[in-house]
Symmetry: C2
Subunit: 259 residues, 2 copies
């Protein structure tokens, strides 16, 4: 890696290295430091915190906008972070940004999201990390209104740092919702996918199944990301990875655990 | 699904439907209720909370030990839960158990683990859910000493229930560590993978990469799962899925968030 006095910023995503969102994000980062893109060679949405352990990984140096150094990776978003840190950089970047995702990562979707899992992996590695998502799926979505949010949150993280074990989940409403009212720091809303399965038959008559579903927020209090983005704000949720249900420890310890 | 007065117990895993661990688990569950196995048709270790959204899924009814109803699924462990709930059962089972995993799921490995992600998905669905892991990878690992733990925790969950949004992560030391001293209810230890990348060249001279690494627990206090299993106990960690870093909300809200 090129060594300069500027911070090294690792950029990844889950929509794949050719998605418009990551091009916007990498180009914005160039104002803050030296940029390295390591991103999946194909869409890896909803891959969660998956890593590749039963197969090998390929890395390929690719052309990227503005001559930014970039590698495509055959694995998941978390694989990209691991290969960047342990093989390409051989050290920790100053910042990791993931996205800009094409689609929302509000509420419990932090669990399914490859974009956010890359940011969580960054936090596990002790790297200040941010995941950015635009709440619009289309390949032709407009990102212009997201860029001031990206700049503001990035500048804050470079200035203030992030506590060890904490990363940020930033969601931005679509341009069609009108000018942003600001940034709202908030918690992950409780929510749930009301799923459905659509069953079809292939030409040979065998059944196959598509998952589909509708996301339902259970709580839209004003301190949640669902409320914020539904009311014209970009949401910033600090995310940590201790999944212990601390409030249940005492109760469960009272059970009879004799073997 | 067969309708009886007995609880319906959904069994899944991430090692695949032909792994010995899931056979032991399903056979134990038959003492508690009617058992349905829906598990991946191939190993899906380290798939985290991945779901399949860019491809369809196949389900196939398969022969299983003791005539237990069983389906293999072409997707991830979380896909298995979704297909079981929304397509096969068309409702919620009384209990979901995942495992018995061949290998540890202590500490932050709850994030990477397909076994635990299936249990977390169960909790998201409002199903009392438990993930069981034997801390030994071998296909020929001995499971006999794990079964009293499986029975004890299962009986407790059926008796006491689990609070909405909480599931259990149970890890059991290998038989070689000697008789279990008991069950320890504890928190997820902080930890980290010190990863490495091994690069090789294929016959055509092109590089490929294998992820490998060593897990390092950062904190081995007596109230952690790493301490418990390192000291002869099976660990039970209650797990929840609010990843908000609540303790950081106030601090981050003080930043200048002007756009």
């Amino acid at each position: 890696m090129k060594k300069t006095d500027r911070p090294l910023i690792l950029v990844t995503n889950d929509d794949g290295i050719f998605a418009p969102g990551i091009q916007h994000l990498a180009q914005e980062m160039a104002a803050f430091g030296d940029v390295l893109v390591v991103a999946p060679d194909k869409p890896q949405s909803a891959m969660g915190h998956a890593i590749t352990i039963h197969n090998f990984l390929r890395l390929r140096q690719v052309e990227f906008a503005d001559g930014i150094a970039a590698y495509s990776c055959s694995g998941t978003p978390v694989d990209c972070v691991k290969l960047a840190v342990y093989h390409i950089i051989k050290g920790r970047p100053s910042l990791l940004v993931s996205g800009i995702n094409h689609g929302s990562n509000l509420s419990i979707n932090v669990l399914y999201s490859g974009t956010m899992s890359a940011a969580v992996e960054g936090a596990l590695e002790g790297i200040p990390s941010i995941g950015f998502s635009l709440m619009e799926y289309g390949i032709d979505a407009s990102f212009a209104h997201t860029l001031p949010v990206v700049r503001s949150v990035t500048a804050n993280v470079l200035k203030h740092g992030l506590r060890q074990g904490c990363c940020l989940n930033v969601n931005i409403p679509p341009a069609a919702c009108g000018p942003l009212k600001g940034i709202h720091v908030c918690r992950q809303a409780p929510g749930h996918w009301a799923d459905a399965v659509e069953t079809r038959r292939d030409p040979a008559g065998h059944e196959y199944h598509w998952l589909k579903g509708e996301f339902l927020a259970k709580d839209q209090a004003e301190d949640t990301d669902v409320w914020a983005t539904g009311n014209g704000f970009a949401s910033v949720v600090p995310v940590q990875f201790d999944m212990t249900a601390h409030h249940e420890l005492q109760h469960i310890a009272t059970w009879d655990h004799a073997l």
